[in-house]
Symmetry: C2
Subunit: 286 residues, 2 copies
């Protein structure tokens, strides 16, 4: 997906939110906003949204001198999810279809996003998503693929949300032995995307046979890009592949043989998927 | 009120919406967005939002060659309100407190806005606003002022919405004779703000003793600015003064002796008023 014109003002809003997370200084906020707007004007708008996002957030990092403006926000998200984890685990265990409940919760957790949206209510989203109809529903295909799988590749999305991903994988493991679980995290900070630090904080490394693969956050040396041949070969080497969230949808949409699991949070993504904003999606791309 | 940093991306979103009303050509849309972003970067951000809005919308007009990009949108809004007018009139007439109902409807009509928001549902808004609690409630003061008034100055806001304003003034006239009714409209097109053409289309000129005063749309020769001494004297020369909507709130907030009647539609205005987005306000500024 290439950037849409609507993304241009949206990136500026995002940059403003990022600098406000770390400073109340309006002069600094204005400086960041002006530099981001300037950069966007100089840029070619044929890039993908994640590529442009990298440019935008590099400016925030450079001007504020903070390598990770969302550090506290990510920690808070992780902690909130850790607090509700035992209750969520119980909910999955007691439900008629534990896999379906865990899938829904993993999608609900995708609301924890500081890139696209400005405000969210996690508890309310969980309640809604547990009963909401899927706009795209390849659940049977997921059951089918899981039954035959021995290896799993899982592209995670945001901090906090990865607690829900852990719960989903634990639910897989309750009925199915997996010899290899590879979580794909970001090789460096960008917005509130989960990094290795978040994954370990949330205990994803405690799952048996689990390892981590890093993809690029846009900076050199942080890992291969989502669209690369390396990532393509990762996908073909695993039986079951799950991609969480909008960023991964944008970056992995050229690949095949994977499930996209997300909530449509911006009008551009929703329109690309042929759904409405707020819809939940479990789509298999053959 | 001076412009807030959040207004900068918002203006770009607004310009994009405006050009999309008149053309599907993505090249043209990109050109408008780039020029608007460039203009905003060159501008001093100590201006008021309406001043900056004028600069932004001048670019849309210049590049598209359309003097009034919202012409069709305004006509559609006017027509929708005309269609529901008889039913609304009946609702006011049959209600326990016709004045209160007409005030609420006039505020509900303020949702017809193509500057601040992207989508709205008028029928749903009417249902909500008819039962919603006022965040700021100077209704008694309005009853009191109306009882003593013989002259009315009424700053209207948007096309379509002015049908609701007409209904409110008719409700005033049902219990109270007014010797002079001056509607303040825009002296030229800007966004979907009501102009003389809209006012006449909606029949505001048919109200007894009604006349029109034009204020500036930002262009030279279209009328005095809202903050001017001329407008200040208009206010002091009338017994009852009503200001509809966010734009008038921003532009008239330095004056005194008037009622602000609006729905808070953007976070900046809401925060300035000390209310939440979506709240309804009837505030007397002494």
């Amino acid at each position: 997906m290439k950037v849409n014109l609507d993304c241009i003002p949206c990136f500026q809003r995002q940059a403003l939110q990022a600098v406000r997370f770390i400073s109340d200084d309006e002069k600094l906020q204005e400086k960041v906003l002006r530099e981001v707007a300037k950069k966007l004007l100089e840029s070619n708008w044929d890039l993908t949204p994640p590529e442009l996002a990298h440019q935008v957030h590099s400016i925030v990092k450079r001007i504020t001198g903070k390598d990770d403006p969302y550090k506290d926000v990510k920690r808070d998200s992780n902690d909130s999810v850790l607090r509700m984890y035992p209750k969520l685990k119980q909910k999955v265990k007691l439900s008629k279809d534990p896999l379906m409940t865990a899938v829904r919760l993993a999608i609900a957790g995708n609301i924890i996003d500081f890139g696209v949206i400005q405000e969210f209510n996690l508890e309310e989203t969980i309640r809604e998503v547990l009963k909401k109809k899927f706009a795209i529903d390849d659940y049977r295909k997921l059951q089918d693929k899981l039954e035959k799988a021995t290896t799993l590749l899982y592209f995670v999305d945001n901090a906090g949300e990865i607690g829900f991903d852990k719960l989903l994988v634990e639910t897989f493991l309750a009925t199915k032995k997996l010899n290899k679980i590879d979580f794909v995290i970001k090789g460096g900070p960008i917005i509130n995307d989960a990094t290795l630090e978040d994954a370990i904080y949330m205990g994803l490394h405690t799952l048996q046979n689990s390892e981590f693969l890093a993809i690029s956050n846009g900076e050199a040396g942080t890992g291969p890009a989502r669209g690369s041949q390396t990532v393509k070969s990762w996908i073909s080497e695993h039986d079951l592949v799950i991609s969480k969230g909008q960023g991964n949808y944008e970056g992995l949409s050229e690949h095949s043989g994977l499930f996209f699991m997300l909530m449509a949070k911006c009008p551009i993504i929703a329109s690309d998927l042929g759904v409405e904003v707020g819809d939940i999606i479990l789509e298999y791309k053959p």
